[in-house]
Amino acid sequence: MATMVNPNLITDLQKFGAPDINACYSCGNCTAICPLADNDATFPRRFIRLAQVGLTDELVTSKELWTCYQCGMCTARCPQEADPAEFMATARRYAIAKLDKSGVARAMYTSPVAAAVISLLGVLVFGGFFASVKAAPADRLVFGVPYEWIHLVGLVVMILVALVAVVNLAMMARATAKREGVTGKSLFGSKQAWGRTLRALWSAIGVESLGQKRYREDCADDQPAEPLYRRRWLIHFLTLWGFLALFAATLIHYGGDIIGVPESVAESVISPIARVIGTIGGLAMMYGVTWFGINRYQKVSAAAQHTSLSDWMFLGMLWLTGLTGFIIEVSLYLPQAHPQPWAYVLFLVHVAIAMELVLFMPFTKFAHVMYRPVALFFYALSRESHKQLQSA
């Protein structure tokens, strides 16, 4: 079947920071050197070609886009200085925008003004929503807007954004499945199929997403630019687990509240546990994110050569969430019996940014948290199928 190309793809991609796509002459050095390219995942050459020719759909719904860890070895070997590693990063930005049918991601990626306005609005809405939870019905919060309205707006935005995330993820998964020829039957049709699916799930979620195995092993260059304490896989590992720990701590803390654990139990058992997990997690994440920032600032390796606004925003929000969280925690140990008003405002800011971070996932670089595991699942599935075919 012939596919109609999109003649404007290159120009469109350039808005997302693409390096010189046209420089590539399809030699394949980048694929040859790429530690992750194998029979089930051929890139980055093929992706640059897709961009040159204008095959948009294939570019944004191919699993390989998300199996790349951006080690930069391809860029170092490219005779044309086409910077394939940066191209892959650009293509991921483009894919996030393209997969987001609401158009918010596109606006945030292509216009700094839109990014600033939408982020600010998000913080206000989420902060307002949280403030409204504890406010009295008659309170007028901002510019005399009644709290019910704010509460409602916040709720609607939250639900909408969550829906967008679910839809985007589902669409991405469906398109990738179609491209890979994966169907319900091939996933769950037989005992063998079930086995494949479960093994692929474990590989994608356990080994790769939580264990970061290939990030650690394959993508470690012979001579990594960074010393171990700031190596990419390590600081990412700490960021990821730190974030998960913070998330867990938050769930434990408020979860108790929601399911109605008695105050005394919450005070004496749950809170200390949550606090320990949160503190360790927070430290890990702050360590990782801080080094990411420094690496990018110093352009320490190939992966840190180009930093777009979205990269800074993502790092910035993680960092702010961590920092505000720590200040609030410290404020709890201050001599006053009751929290200070400034601590309350800080708390609102902390919650607003954290919510925005998570809820704006489909529009930001954070989207990799939802797309990468799905792509890795299809990658693992394709390997499982090959293995079964070979042993058959």
């Binding site: 596919t3 003649p7 420089a23 002459y25 093929r46 020719v53």
Partner: protein, 602 residues
């Protein structure tokens, strides 16, 4: 023209000739299979033979010097070398004779290697016997040789250039600068050929029109160049160095005829652009154009702004390469050579006009050779995308329902994915085809290759000469090529014309037919057989006889047997010589094998 001296004295007493016979071993090529000593011994006592000797390598420098010394010391007036084919060394030994002060046409080569030793490797006695016969026969022919001298005649210091394209115009300037008058005959009302139509052309961006204009300005500065437009070469007579040509000038008031003497003719009639068939890659559809048409579109577009075709803006272009070239058996099998670079260069011009125009190049192989590689790189850098299709899967072009054209191609560089490119304009990168020029070809007897372009004698060593002496070919009439390469050929033709004409005279081999006026009865039979139209009837002593023009006769001998009264002789191969040679060959009394032939000592 200097008359030829008859050498009656030499013929008077053949037995008194002083002939040297050299029998070559050729390393072992001859002596391994032929008893060369026996041959030498058999020749020693032949009438007229003064020297009979064997040599390891007759062609070696040392032996050549020995021969020269012997010729001088012994006063030899004939030379026979029994060795390899005359194709290999006839000139070598003629030169030996010449250097020794002997008439070079008194040299005869007996080919005893190809004709005896190699052919009869298993019959030493028989081979030896045959060699003795061949050498005796050569001696017999030499005994009757005449003293001959090259034909020498004055040359006209003027060249005719047919075709006023970039090749012809530049050649005319070169001719004038080297001191030869130049006359350019251009069929079209304007000079310039194809380059004269184009604006910016590769390499760099110099305009073709400007280049032609600058050539014309240089021509105006030179008195020795005449340019005729709307003119044609309509007749040619004479021979190289002395052609008389007729030129017809098409003028409003009717045709005018002109006659001119010229020494050489440079044919620079160029090429035609391939004209696609209706429907070939969508040709005929609105928006499908050939390369020359596209160049015109670019030339008329603003320097910076919008490119438009028939009033519609062009936002995207697809180039389909190799149209009319590399067609495989039966078609135009050659590569047109200039078109890859021309298409790439055009796309760079488009980038300059409007960098946002999207350009796809659908190619089989990119042959932007040499420095043109850089243009290829530049075009990719400027945003052109290249898609490679297989020879047996050419792209197709159709109209898209939503408007515009769709080019479907299977791209080998994208894992053989079949894609449709939606574009506003399709450019067929058309190649070169030979120009229709039948009357000129017939008139000048131009050698046409199977591809329809003119053939030079040797592509490397004689790149602009044809088998017709004094007629040269240059530029795209020889083969597809760029303007620079065409001009190079034009200047090579200038150098070759100078080599022929600048001495003021030319020399020809004297081995031509000669008619004895006393014997000729004027039947005229020989006239029709001469392929070079060298024989004419002349008045002699009050009667009509046939006469050969030695300057156009090639010495093929075709007329000799046709003459009923044996009035024609081929100098260097006269009837008497050939008869005597044949007689010697058939009557030769060879020594009986048993006594004369010694087996090699093993």
């Amino acid at each position: 023209m200097t008359e030829q001296k008859p050498a009656e004295e030499a013929k008077a007493n053949p037995e008194d000739r002083r002939i040297g016979v050299y029998i070559c071993h050729c390393g072992g090529n001859i002596s391994d299979y032929v008893d060369v000593e026996a041959v030498r011994d058999a020749l020693v006592d032949e009438p007229g033979v003064v020297v009979s000797t064997t040599e390891l390598f007759a062609c070696s420098d040392g032996t050549q010097h020995d021969m020269i010394d012997a010729i001088k010391a012994k006063g030899l007036d004939g030379l026979v070398v029994a060795s390899c084919s005359p194709k290999l060394h006839q000139v070598t030994f003629r030169n030996v004779a010449n250097r020794a002060g002997m008439n070079p046409y008194a040299y005869t080569q007996a080919n005893v290697r190809e004709q005896a030793s190699w052919a009869h490797q298993h019959d030493r006695a028989g081979a030896t016997e045959k060699v003795i016969g061949l050498v005796r026969s050569a001696v017999a022919k030499t005994r009757l040789s005449d003293e001959l001298h090259p034909l020498r005649f004055d040359t006209v210091q003027r060249s005719l250039v047919v075709g006023g394209g970039i090749t012809g115009l530049r050649a005319a300037i070169g001719l004038a600068d080297i001191g030869l008058e130049a006359v350019v005959v251009e069929k079209a009302p304007e000079v310039g050929g194809w380059m004269g139509r184009f604006g910016a052309s590769f390499p760099s961006e110099a305009s073709g029109k400007d280049q032609i204009a600058s050539l014309m300005a240089q021509i105006k500065d030179r008195r020795d160049i005449t340019v005729y437009t709307s003119a044609e070469l309509t007749s040619k007579a004479g021979t190289f160095g002395n052609y008389t040509v007729g030129i017809t000038l098409h003028r409003d008031g009717g045709d005018k005829e002109l006659s001119l003497d010229v020494g050489s003719i440079v044919v620079a009639t160029g090429f035609d652009s391939y004209n696609p068939d209706d429907g070939e890659y969508g040709y005929g559809m609105d928006g499908v154009v050939t390369l020359p048409e596209f160049k015109e579109l670019i030339d008329t577009a603003p320097a910076v702004g919008k490119l438009s075709y028939q009033g519609r803006p062009v936002r995207s272009v697809a180039y389909i390469y190799c149209v009319g070239s590399r067609q495989g058996a039966g078609g135009n099998e050659y590569c047109s050579k200039f078109c890859c670079t021309s298409a790439i260069h055009s796309s760079l011009l488009v980038n300059k006009i409007d960098p946002s125009i999207r350009q796809f190049h659908l190619y089989r192989d990119i042959r932007a050779y040499g420095k043109f590689e850089l243009e290829y790189g530049a075009s990719r850098g400027a945003g052109s995308t290249y898609l490679k299709f297989a020879d047996d899967a050419p792209p197709t072009v159709e109209k898209l329902p939503k408007g515009g054209l769709g080019v479907t191609v299977t791209d080998l560089l994208t894992a053989s994915r079949e894609v449709i490119l939606p574009v506003d304009l399709v450019v067929l990168v058309t190649g070169m085809v030979p120009r229709q020029n039948k009357s000129l070809i017939d008139l000048l007897k131009l050698p046409v290759g199977t591809d329809g372009f003119f053939n030079e004698i040797h592509p490397k060593l004689r790149p602009v000469e044809t088998v017709v002496d004094g007629v040269m070919i240059a530029g795209c009439c020889q083969a597809p090529r760029t303007a620079a390469e065409s001009v190079q050929a034009g200047l090579a033709a200038v150098a070759q014309s100078a080599a022929l004409l600048k001495k003021g005279y030319a020399e020809l081999e004297p081995l031509v037919a000669k008619i004895d006026p006393d014997k000729c009865v004027g039947s005229g039979e020989c006239l029709s057989v001469c392929p070079y139209e060298s024989i004419t009837m002349i008045e002699w002593d009050g009667r009509q006889i046939a006469s050969v023009d030695p300057s156009t006769c090639k010495g093929c001998g075709g007329c000799v047997p046709l003459c009923g009264v044996d009035a024609i002789d081929l100098l260097g191969y006269t009837d008497a010589q050939m008869r005597s040679a044949i007689e010697e060959l058939i009557s030769a009394e060879a020594p009986t094998k048993a006594e004369a032939v010694k087996e090699p000592v093993s």
